[in-house]
């Protein structure tokens, strides 16, 4: 079955990709399967300087989900370009670089540096990380700031720019429309919901950072609702994510209006999950009466006229 799809001018052989932060820079997972099988890879967030991230514990388990507060630990964009991208250059799989920063200037600098890298095929603007004090989510909860940031980054890149939205907002469509107006080529949604777990013995939050981002199947209904809602207001391509663990979940995201689907937390439960979903997708689509991926999207529950 033809699983190919084109999102914002970026051709993918299939719509499945690991989500940012859940796959590192690919090296570890390359020991399990050939990364060329993936539709794309969204790599861990890059900032201007190296960041140490938050103190540990950084993760906690919750019912059908988990909290993380990694806090954007990364070696900095220069180091990523030098140390991590060359490995990814061994693959044909399009790489989508996730960009974070404290200030608009930092986002712009990181974006322009990554824009120069041929191995990077698209940028994902992370305006939704709930785990850092400055930057991140504040840009993702204010339409004006989201507009300005997107606009500024768009000016320094010729690559497709996806903006990753935060679900921690009253009206996600407002933010989606703001970044669309600012020139975003696509949307990535959703990032994690801010949550907390307490350590009953220690009588304090279990994560050193106190709060963390909730991901996993627990949040899938929220992701589906938000994508469905945003799809009614924009034709921008959407990379959907939030709790995907199976090919049926992928179909649900596609029907809700997503054009491609990212898998995050589930990679920790099963390192082969992306490969397995790709393998199962044709049968799952057939089971529900589809003979191609394009057909699914024409059948989207919301907007039958999404341009592919």
């Amino acid at each position: 079955m033809n699983l190919s799809v084109n999102i914002a001018g970026l051709p993918l052989k299939n719509p499945i990709m690991p989500a940012s932060g859940c796959f590192g820079f690919g090296k570890e997972f390359s020991k399990f399967y050939d990364l060329n099988e993936l539709g794309a890879i969204m790599i861990k967030a890059a900032t201007q300087e190296a960041r140490l991230g938050n103190p540990t514990p950084r993760v906690a388990e919750t019912s059908s989900g988990m909290l993380n507060a990694i806090g954007l630990q990364n070696p900095g964009v220069d180091q990523i370009i030098k140390e991590d991208l060359p490995f990814l250059d061994n693959y044909q799989t399009p790489i989508i670089a996730n960009i974070a920063g404290r200030t608009k200037e930092e986002y712009v600098k990181v974006a322009s540096q990554l824009d120069q890298q041929p191995v990077i095929k698209a940028l994902e603007l992370n305006i939704s990380c709930p785990n850092v004090k400055e930057g991140g989510v504040q840009f993702g909860t204010d339409p004006t700031l989201a507009f300005e940031l997107t606009n500024a980054v768009k000016a320094v890149t010729t690559k497709p720019l996806f903006v990753k939205l935060s679900p921690n907002v009253t009206n996600i469509a407002d933010i989606a429309l703001a970044v669309e107006q600012a020139g975003a080529d696509g949307l990535s949604m959703i990032n994690t919901l801010t949550g907390m777990k307490l350590d009953l013995s220690g009588k304090k939050p279990l994560l050193a950072n106190q709060t963390g981002g909730l991901s996993g199947p627990a949040i899938k209904p929220i992701a589906i609702r938000m994508i469905y809602e945003v799809r009614q207001q924009t034709q921008l391509p959407i990379i959907g994510m939030g709790g995907v663990t199976s090919a049926e979940d992928v179909l649900e995201f596609l029907l809700a209006g997503a054009n491609a689907v990212a898998v995050g937390t589930a990679n920790f439960q099963d390192p082969y999950i992306c490969q397995n979903i790709i393998l199962q997708l044709p049968d799952t689509l057939s089971k529900y009466g589809y003979s191609s991926l394009k057909e699914v999207m024409f059948d989207s529950c919301v907007n039958p006229s999404i341009s592919l």
Partner: protein, 252 residues
Amino acid sequence: MKLECLRVIENHQLALDTYEMRLQGEVLPILSQPGQFIHLKIGQVSEFMLRRPVSIADVDREEKSITIIYKVVGHGTNWLSTRIIGDEIDGLGPLGNGFSLQQHKGESILLVGGGVGVPPLYYAAKELSKHNHVTAVLGFQTSEAIFYESEFSQIAKTWITTDDGSYGYSGLVTELIASLGSFTTYYACGPNGMLKSVQSQLSDIKGYLSLEERMGCGIGACLACVCQTRCNKGYIKICKDGPVVNADEVIL
């Protein structure tokens, strides 16, 4: 590193809240080295999103089995304790860097274990005792929590301590160590507090610590399990660069 469906061939209570389980597989047991761990999937559904890291306490290459010893502390370990013979558990491993044992010959080696930090030391002790003098100091909370005393006794000079003095030496392992003379190398695994004390107490000899941290992926991709290192070397990942680390390299 393999994802394998392991078969439970034994699972029984060993001590207070502590269970011993043997798991059979084709590949994973063959690859396992002392100090490494396996990451076990809990339950059949997605209720439990995170695997549980458990040390490899022993390996039987003929039977193709690994032994784990775990304490029931929460949902995941409770689920493990209710598995019966014939059940299958999805295991990812062996993971991490284990003890580098080959380098030691004719040394006097101290093993320091606390509670469920004891299991990985057993596999190490078995290997080390072939060419070295091994002393094991094993700390438990109370007499009912003690396990593997006789197993260790067969291969190492073994001291047991209990926090409440209900068996063996009464008090902390560090107090006992001070009275045991000198060693060339030590290996320690146990609660952070214990590791910290041992690290400073034995700072003059070569030492290895086996660390614990809450994990996501277990393979070095998510950055959940970091530990700070000295000399501005930044973080290491316990799941990949550890769990066994040079005692003089990490800040606990």
